[in-house]
């Protein structure tokens, strides 16, 4: 019925022409502060083996200068926010008069935590993002007010906790009690939403490496979150990014912190299992 013959010829010609153009991830290595070599490309985790061979950090899809900026903490504007969070870490807040440090000591105690979030929490009987866990400590252990999910104070703290895991491989669990949430996230990833009827996969699985208007499409990985964007000069949360991408399909978005975005975050994180934690990274 469809014009298969025409399309076959068409696709042939098109493949030839676009492979000659700029496409694909930059061939480069990210060495953090001249000491830590980061895994920015690696074999795709088993659950992705039927759709892709390799997972690639968003770092490879950005320009030379943006890439360089992320390689050195003195050049990385995201690290200024990490310093601010360090202050919050040590500052008592709430009715219990406690700071994060009162219970968790130094921030090094958080090494390895970002790599495994979102994570199933037995007591809560649900998958928790790092933001949810932080707010749980604030509300139930400190007697303090919850921080705004995508707000600066929260994202600074997420960046601080991410920063002490940099270089460690993302390794979120997708089986056991987290499995049904993971499956919900997968379903959302492949659902074509909005008036433009596009799924995450349309852009980030089928077209990474290609230009969409002025944007060089990456795999939409979240190992680099929170990301400092040159465009808005602040740290951006995973859910704010999801919201922006869903909005761009001319769809009604989900809310940051919603069950849908929590599930989607678990699924997207699992697509980056094996990549180094990079947050806070730099993007345009």
């Amino acid at each position: 019925m469809n014009k298969y013959n025409k399309i076959a010829t068409l696709v042939g010609v098109w493949a030839l022409s676009s492979s000659a153009a700029m496409a694909g991830p930059a061939d480069d290595t990210l060495v953090l502060n001249e000491e830590t070599e980061m895994v920015t490309r690696t074999a795709a985790p088993a659950h992705l083996s039927d759709v892709m061979d390799e997972v690639i950090s968003g770092w490879h899809f950005r320009g030379v200068e943006t890439r360089a900026m992320q390689a050195d903490d003195f050049d990385n504007p995201g690290m200024i926010f990490v310093e601010q969070a360090q202050e919050a870490w040590d500052t008592a807040d709430g009715s219990e008069g406690k700071s994060c440090a009162s219970c968790h000591d130094g921030t090094e105690s958080m090494a390895g935590v970002k790599a495994v979030y979102p994570k199933w929490n037995e007591a809560a009987g649900a998958v928790r993002t790092l933001e949810m866990q932080i707010n749980d400590c604030r509300e139930t252990r400190m007697g303090a007010e919850a921080w705004d999910y995508t707000g600066g104070t929260m994202q600074n703290m997420v960046a601080l906790i991410a920063s002490v895991s940099r270089g460690m491989p993302v390794n979120v669990a997708i089986d056991g009690p987290a499995q049904s949430t993971w499956e919900q996230g997968k379903e959302l990833y492949y659902t074509r939403t909005g008036q433009l009827e596009m799924s995450c996969a349309n852009c980030h699985e089928d077209n990474y490496g290609n230009m969409i208007r002025a944007d060089h499409l990456s795999q939409g990985q979240i190992n680099g979150f929170p990301v400092y964007r040159l465009k808005n000069t602040k740290l951006n949360s995973v859910h704010a990014r999801f919201k922006g991408c869903v909005r761009d399909t001319r769809a009604e978005t989900y809310k940051p912190g919603s069950p849908e975005f929590i599930a989607l975050e678990l699924y997207v994180a699992s697509r980056g299992n094996g990549l180094s934690v990079e947050g806070p990274s730099i993007r345009n």
Binding site: K3, L196, E197, N210, I212, R213, D248, R250, A251
Partner: protein, 157 residues
């Protein structure tokens, strides 16, 4: 408004159509992905079509397609094939079908359906992220589709 209607009607009659001048998105008939009848009943305007194809606010076709003729518009994407020579590959009816609802021609394509109003999952109110309301309409109007088709018909190699 009145003259336009009359003109449109006159055209419809001369083109041998008994139907109303404008075919609504829900009333388009596709045959092997192609649409024979003009959607608006008024011939497309090539210059308007050129604008729509290049404009971010309208068709934004260059987000996904390169078009040599639109070299004045910055940043052409590479999601779909370059549109150069589209008129050599496709008839006017096929082009109309592709622009109105490309999924009829290319099963499962990523190309949006520009003249469709039903069957969406979580349709939004343009790019606000909010739910669609009663202002919801097709991405392009019947006449804009005709303008785009007229422009594409000039893309010969």
């Amino acid at each position: 408004m009145r003259t336009r209607m009359t003109l449109a009607l006159a055209f419809a009659v001369s083109a041998g159509m008994a139907t109303a001048a404008e075919i609504p998105p829900t009333g388009v008939s596709y045959e092997d992905g192609a649409v024979a009848a003009s959607l608006s009943g008024t011939p497309g305007n090539v210059d308007e079509g050129r604008k729509i194809v290049g404009s971010k606010k309208l068709g934004n076709c260059v987000a996904c397609h390169a078009v040599s003729d639109l070299a004045d518009v910055p940043f052409h994407g590479e999601i779909g094939p370059p549109l150069d020579g589209a008129a050599d590959r496709w008839s006017e009816a096929e082009l109309r079908g592709i622009v109105a609802n490309a999924k009829m021609m290319f099963d499962g394509t990523m190309m949006p359906s520009f003249y469709k109003t039903e069957g969406f999952i979580r349709p939004g109110k343009a790019y606000t992220g909010k739910a669609a309301d009663d202002t919801f309409g097709p991405l392009l109007s019947a006449q804009q589709i005709e303008d785009v088709v007229a422009y594409l018909s000039t893309l010969k190699e």
